[in-house]
């Protein structure tokens, strides 16, 4: 999984990645520095994922940072980044990741594998 997201994670000013299922379950997370609280699957995240229903992607601009959420076949990918992150490159990497993973069947069964891995 880490390998799958390595291009995104290695992009300048990307601070972390979370992948949530449509049921709000945390499938994968990786942060460059630990968060004060673990983003475990909970009602909080279910509400967040539900609020994204029908949305392909959102760019969320905060005062200090930026969040990019992208719908995948199995849930939403949330990328946390600084304000200097190259967002066009990150979007492109998501496009490439999603299309190539579909082509190569990587996503297929990914969730099950990830559950085992976690």
């Amino acid at each position: 999984m880490k390998k799958l997201f390595k291009h995104i994670l290695s992009t300048e000013d990307v601070k972390g990645i979370m992948l949530f299922s449509f049921e709000g379950e945390l499938i994968f997370k990786k942060f460059s520095s630990p968060l004060s609280e673990e983003p475990k699957g909970s009602a909080r995240w279910l509400n967040v994922i539900n609020s994204l229903k029908g949305v392909k992607e959102v760019d969320v601009i905060f005062e200090k940072t930026r969040l990019y959420a992208r719908r995948t076949e199995h849930g939403y990918l949330l990328i946390l980044m600084g304000i200097f992150a190259p967002i066009a490159m990150i979007r492109l990497n998501c496009d490439v990741l999603l299309s190539s993973s579909k082509q190569m069947g990587i996503i297929k069964g990914l969730r099950g594998l990830l559950k085992k891995a976690n």
């Binding site: 609280e37 609020s51 949305v55 392909k56 969320v60 940072t65 066009a88 490159m89 492109l92």
Partner: protein, 348 residues
Amino acid sequence: MTRNILVVDDDQEMLLSLKEGLEGYGENFSVLMAGDGLVAVEKLKISPISLVVSDIRMGRMDGFTLLTYIMQYYPGIPVILMTGYGTDDTERQALARGALGYIEKPFTIENLSRQIMTVTRRESDGGTLQGISSGNFLQLIGMEEKTCTIRLVDKLYDKHGVLFFKEGELLNARVGNLQGEAAAYEIFAWDEVNLSIQNACHQKERKIKSDLQAVLLEAMRLKDEAADNGEEPVSPLELKEESGNGYEVRESKEMSITNHIKSKVEGKLGKKCGLMDICEDDSWDSLLTQMAKIGEFLGAGKLKLVYVDKEESNDFILLPGQETTVISVNPKCPRERIIQALTDKQTP
């Protein structure tokens, strides 16, 4: 996709009669004219050309010299040579030097237009695609190891470009007078394009040394850098942060919030920046509330703006405040520049 045919002849009467005759085929192609080879070279630099039809005998620069120039600098553009003094040797030379066709004067307009349409149809023999993101598609060309010539039109600014692929390797790119990696960077920065694919590549020389992935990523980096540097400087809206959560447009007796945002954004980015509608709409409050909560959890600070793509005919920009302001935008809009315009602070 518009196809421009460049007709080159130093006989003004001939040139005008060809133009008049070919204009009858305006549904299929447009006609540009050049009075000799040198004028044609200048036209090639500034206009996207699909085919050149040139006389051979001309002053300053003749048809053979023009053909040689095109083969070297614009190998994707086919050339038909015409002459009133043809011999078997002239025809043999024309074809040997790379001309796609050869036609002897006098000829009928119908005959010439048939040849033109046969050639231009080949430009899209591999198919056409409308309104796609170029980066993702071109990755697939690389993965499929295709040999092809791709002609692209940037939907936002109506710029034309050409990419030459041989077995998935990007050999060259061209936009106007720009070639090589510089042209590729520009093309790859286009957000949405129409393109046609020709299943052939006439480019011989490899002008782009880096691999496709590297060029794509560098193009994205340059695009981000350009946005960061504000190459087309965008001054901020006169928005100020409230003490609470969100924005409040500085009060103006003359302007409503809607007019204020519209005039400011369009004033900086132009009328074609893609703003469609601005209104207050509380149906997005749930999404904004959840995003604000994520911000709290992540220690990200106050929520400033949310850009939403629902794969509908419009995208939406949400500005939190006592009332949520929703800006509908064309999905082809320069997203980053609008976000920058809306989020940059200006000291009151």
